[in-house]
Every structure is written in C-alpha cells, then in structure tokens.
Symmetry: C2
Subunit: 428 residues, 2 copies
C-alpha cells in the first residue's frame, strides 16, 4: 500500500452521491485493486442541508467548488456539477492551475472547451479524464482510447441519448405521436431542464464530438457536428420504416474521409436485425470500427447514478494505478484541427411521399429521381382511402445533394401532395 488517493467531489447530485456510495461501500475492494486506498476528503454542492441519504460528516465542506482545488488534502477534483461554463469551468480550470488531476462527467464543458482545458492540463503535467461524459456506464472512452489503440478507426456510431431512444421506442410500441410521448417523458423527469439538449441531439452531439477527437486525432469540434433532432419523426415514419425492415434511431456517426471529418447526429434508419436496430428503451449503444479489429459493439446504461458513478470511478482507479493518459489519447498539442466535411458521404435513403392517385404519377416521380442520378432499390405503395397514396422508396446509395435536387423538382409534377420526408439509412 502506498499513499491514499484523495478525492474532492464538486457536485452532489445523482452522480456525486453515487460516487460517495461506491467509495464508502467498496473501500477494501478499491484499495485491493488500486494498490492504495481511495478516500474522499472534501465535497462541495449548492445545498449543505439537503438529505442525500449518505453520510458526509467525515468530509470537509466547501461551499465554493473552486476552493476544493486549493486544498492540500485533495489530489483529484471530480467535477460532476455539469454546465458548459460557470462553476464547472471555473472549478476545472482552478484544479489544473493548482496542480490537481480532474475527472469529469461534463460532456458539454469538454465538447466546447476540451481542447483548451486539455492543453492547459498537459502543460501543467496534469490529466483530465472523462469516461462518464460519454454513454454513462459503458467504458467506451477506454475501449476507444486504449482497447483499440492499435487501430486506425474507420467509423464510430452511437445511440447515446437514452431519452431520445426511449421516445422513439415508446412511439412505436404505444402508437403515440412524438408530442404525446415527449409530454409523457417530460412529466416523468426523463428530459433535461432544457429538453432541446436531449431531443435536439445536442447532448448526444457533445458525446459524439468527444469520441471523434479520440478516434481521429482531431481537436474536439462540436460546432462541426451536423445536428438534427427527433422532433420531426412521425409515427408514420416509424411504422413504415418498420414495414421495410428498419428502425429509426437518433444515431451519431463520425468518420474521417478524404473530404474531411464527417460528424452527424440525426435520425437514421438502421436494419431492425442489427444490434443498433434491436436496441430499445433508454439503453445506450456505441459501435466502434477499426481497420484491424472490425466492428466492436458496446451496450449498457447511458445514465443513472450507478452507471455514471461507475464510469467516474474507472477514471479515478486509473489515476490511482498511475495512469497519466492524455485526455484525448494523445497529447492535446498534437491533435490536428478538424476540417469538417461539407456533405455526408453517399448512403441509401428512405423517402416517404404522398402521391395523387392518378395515372403516371409514380412515373413522374421515378423519372425525376432517375434524372438526378438517384436509383430506386425498393418501392412500396400503400392502400389509401383519400385521393393520395402513401409511397415509400428505399434508394440505392446516393448523395443528399442529389436527393434534395430531386425533391425540389417534385413540386413541379403536381402529383406530390405534401413535402416528402427523407431519412438516411446507415449501413451497419
């Protein structure tokens, strides 16, 4: 046994409380594995009097989280307050300035300020680790940074916002509209205070940007993530996609192509027999693809006290065991600036139309698609009671630009009765 590793915890919400519980219940286990005791010496939170169901009496209390950094009895500051600025940023910066290591669960802060923070930490000989910021309890940052360190990463994909996956699954299972399920989820407390962080894809986009940086050796570039939320997904799309053998997921995809770094967080169709297609409810899944390893799929709880605290403790244990790994897997100064790809690479698309039920209608649409270079893989026309027939088309691989060109020309045919819906099909 060597010296204990002493933790200062900034934030005692769900995650902070979970960390305290693990350290209190598993002291012997942690010490055996780390080769040294892991102890909490100080904590900080907004309310000192709130009952959290845990005994904090043995720990020093700091009402200002940045004061944790100044304490001689803290080696690692754990930032689990959240927020992309304000106290979270100040606490992280103060910790680095005062020579502490940092373990963070803060995806927003790191997705926006990660490069600057990592450079500052590395200049000071300190580490910032963030396993808990991505996909909750799934050890995906570790799998990517270390487990696949011998690979050129070719693509990463992930369903990393449990609330969105819950909403889409529930719409399908219960036959409810997006708005109905949204209201339900909101009432149940499943959504962030600002729900747009969830349903707009921002939260999941933060996570994708962090993984991209590790995967491709590029500076984290959240601004480069093409974001599209799930608000426009209809129950019709879910049902008709299912009819063609697909599920709709809010899917993050990142890949480095000759045309730059492509990062997308948007509703996508995936085959219903694929691991991603079979994922239901609030569970998260990340798919990592490397040139040597092929495809690795990781699945687990993406949020919650236990899973997120487990991820924080993974970083704590690494530091206790002597790891000095760079925040993004290589020194921050060596990360290249990402050049954002101007357009997504070609893919098949799902296209939903309503066509007037009159001779030649389908031919007009098909001809416009053909002229734009979009070829049809499968097509299905459904029964209908009114004057317009629902038509689904699955295209062969095409660019979004070609598809948009065709869609723009549909109007002139006079047979397309409402704006078409186009959703990318991700090959998995």
């Amino acid at each position: 046994m060597t010296d204990p590793l002493r933790l200062g915890i900034a934030g005692l919400g769900t995650v902070g409380t979970g960390i305290v519980r693990i350290v209190q219940t598993h002291g012997d286990l942690l010490a055996a594995r780390a080769g040294r005791p892991i102890v909490i010496t100080a904590v900080s939170a907004r309310s000192r009097t709130k009952d959290r169901g845990i005994d904090l009496s043995a720990y020093a209390w700091e009402s200002d989280p940045t004061a944790l950094s100044a304490r001689d009895d803290v080696d690692v500051v754990i930032e689990v307050m959240g927020g992309d600025d304000g106290p979270a940023k100040a606490t992280t910066e103060a910790a680095i300035a005062q020579g502490k290591d940092v373990v963070s669960a803060n995806k927003a802060l790191l997705a926006i300020h990660g490069q600057a923070l990592a450079e500052a930490a590395e200049a000071a000989g300190r580490v910032i680790r963030f396993e808990a910021a991505v996909a909750g309890g799934i050890p995906v940052v570790k799998a990517l940074t270390e487990g696949l360190a011998g690979n050129e990463i070719t693509r990463i994909m992930g369903v990393m916002n449990g609330s969105c996956n819950y909403i889409l699954t529930r719409m399908e299972d219960a036959g409810l509209t997006y708005q109905e399920v949204f209201d339900e989820a909101d009432a149940l407390g499943y959504l962030e205070a600002d729900p747009e962080l969830d349903v707009g894809g921002i939260d999941a986009g933060h996570k994708l940007a962090l993984l991209s940086s590790i995967a491709f050796g590029t500076q984290v570039d959240f601004a480069g993530v093409a974001l599209e939320g799930i608000g426009s997904v209809t129950i019709d799309d879910i049902r008709q996609a299912a009819d063609m053998g697909f599920k709709i997921k809010l899917l993050g995809v990142a890949q480095l192509t000759g045309r730059g770094l492509e990062q997308r967080m948007s509703p996508c169709l995936v085959p219903d027999t694929s691991p991603l297609g079979q994922l239901s409810g609030g569970t998260n899944m990340v798919v990592l693809e490397g040139d040597a390893v092929g495809q690795i799929v990781l699945r687990g709880a993406g949020a919650g006290e236990g899973p997120t605290a487990s991820a924080v403790m993974s970083d704590v244990m690494d530091i206790a065991r002597g790891s000095r790994l760079s925040t993004f897997g290589q020194p921050a100064k060596t990360l290249r600036k990402a050049r954002a790809a101007q357009a997504a690479i070609a893919a098949p698309y799902y296209l939903r139309l309503r066509l007037l039920d009159k001779p030649g209608a389908l031919a007009k649409v098909a001809s416009i698609l053909g002229d734009a270079g979009v070829s049809i893989d499968r097509m299905r026309q459904y029964d209908h009671k009114d004057s317009a027939a629902p038509v689904l088309i699955v295209t062969h691989k095409t660019t979004r630009a070609a598809l948009d060109e065709a869609i723009a020309r549909f109007d002139s045919t006079g047979v397309v009765t409402q704006p078409p819906v186009a959703i990318r099909i991700e090959t998995v």
Copy 2:
C-alpha cells in the same frame, strides 16, 4: 518522444503476422498515441523460410523463442505461439527471468499457470498482459479490470468460442445434425487441431477462468470450471427451444455466491430476444454485470488475424504509455484461493421428454416433478406419429439436484421412453 518500445515476437502464425502488419502500417499513429515509437526488433518462429506475405528483413531472427528474452534490444516479449506448456511456457518464464514484460494471447497457458507466472512477474517488477487471450478483439479484459474497477462484479457471462456458436447457428439455420456441421466446420478449418478444445468447451473454459479471476479477485482456477461441450445438443433441442422462445448457446457463466465460486461452461438456453440470444455465427459476446454499472454487453470478432492482433496491440500500447497494471487487476499475491461452489445456483430448466401416449402418463411425470419440488412454468406436448409424444417442460427455478432426483425416478413410471434432456435456462 522518448525511447522506442522494442518488441520481440515469439510466433509468426496468424496473430504474429497481424501484429507485424499493424506495427509496419501504423507506425506514425502508434507513436502519436503512445508518445514514443513502437518498433519490432526480433522475431522467432518455427520456419524461417515460410512466405507470410510480410517483410521480416529488418528484424533479428531467433530460431529459439526463449532467446528473444536474452536480447538487450527487446523490452516486451509477445508470446503468440500457443500451447499450455512447452516453448510458450519456457518463453514466458525466460522473459520474466530476464526482466522483460510479456504480452500473451495464450489462454491455455494462463488459465493453467497464470497464478505462478503472475507472481513471478510481479516479484520481478514485470507485467504480463493478456487481452488477446479472451474473446479476440473485444477489449473485455480491459473493460473488466479497468472500466468496471469501481464495481463489485456480480456475474460474467460469455459466448467466447466462435466455432461452437457457428456450429449451433448453422445447425438451426440449415437443419443439420451436430455431426454434419462438425464435419463441415472441421473441413473448413474452423476447429482447433484437437477439436475437443472447441466443442468440449475447454478453450472457452480457459477464457472464463481468466475473467473470473479478475472479476472476483480469486486465483485463476480452470479446474473449477464445470465443463460440458456441445456434442450432445440435438437439432430437436434447438428447434423446440426456439419454439419456446429460446436459443441454445455454449455459455460461460461465473458468479461468486455464498457457497463459493461458480464457473460453468455449458450449453444453456437464453431468451431469443436477449443480446446473447440474437448472437449468430462466429461472433463473440461477453456480458459483465456490476453492482453499480448494471449490465454491460460487449460484442465483436472473437478470433482472426486483425482482431487478435488488435488486442495484443492494446496491451503493447498500455505498456508503452507506462501502465504497470497487475496481470489479474490486483497483485497476484493478494488473490484468494477460489472455493469452487459444489452446485450451480437455482435456475429454470428446459426439459425434453418422450412420453408413451397413454392416459395418465403426463400426470405421473408431473407428480414426480412436484414431489421433487420442481414446479412447472410452461408445458407443451407435440403432435406425433409413433407411440410416444414429445413433451417440453420449462420449469420454474430449481436446483439441478432436485431435477436430477426427479429424472432418476422417471424410469420407474414406465412411460418415459428415452433418457430426458435437461438444459439450464440462464436468466439474462
């Protein structure tokens, strides 16, 4: 950049060749991530003249793999020869004795001699790492040892022999017997030179024993794994299990209960909607359960050049980055001796019988089950053309002892026409 990490590779079969390819193609990437160059200085294999499709001219050649250890220009010996004794053991021991770190893909060697080797390495201040020994490219050793280091592990499960999963999947898909698919797989080169290592569950049992040690802080105890191969699984069982909503998998399960360490590698039924149930073909899957994290599922290629070499490189990169992690996640001297559980904890069972088609036959069987304390969850009797009817029973949770007691008494009824088949249903 600091000093290069210099590798000596013992074994140039599929895996060794894969490692050479990664080091040769990804030199810059590895150096950027490790903060130092990764270089190969010496190699050893049986045949120097065999064409492996790689250029070995820059490396020193040793015809005796133990000689790699004596070289001043080798920091890490990579043992990818295989075999639970002989040259593999001698090479590993020599490496440790001469102050080298070891990266091994050798599950058999470590499952049998792991404790002694780890103690020797740790006494000498050296590390032995073995990511590639378990589940090929899936970074499961890392996920368990590091990613879940804050958890008390409650259970691990895994489909970790791709050949067995291929055989079971193919039997179902093609409607072939075990022997037919076995012969096919053997002809295709999917099986080990001694196929019993695969189909007898030995290879997968080695992997399970290694994971158990990490999970429960116990000395690796392969002798304590209750082994049962897939040779007795029939196409009838596969079909009728499917009819009840299950798949049959060669499933490894390890858990620490009040009655000791339970390690089983045997055919089990799992729900066909579970991740394990949905796994087909040669892919591997490992399920890790911890008290904080809940359930984590990892899926990927369990064998092959790229995936296994990827796993070896994960360990190499860790060593290059300064990790000095203990072989089994905590110092080998602190691992407790496992006390093997005498019997598996209770579970539901699948029971297949053939019953004479005469009044009261089912009642007799049901009454014996009831007397033995085995209660019936679901029962299904099938159409039949001969004098005996196939009957499937899914029991509620019961012990194997109670079930065996009932089965022993079936004979006396005179209505059970052939030995019943009982297969455990693993709750996932």
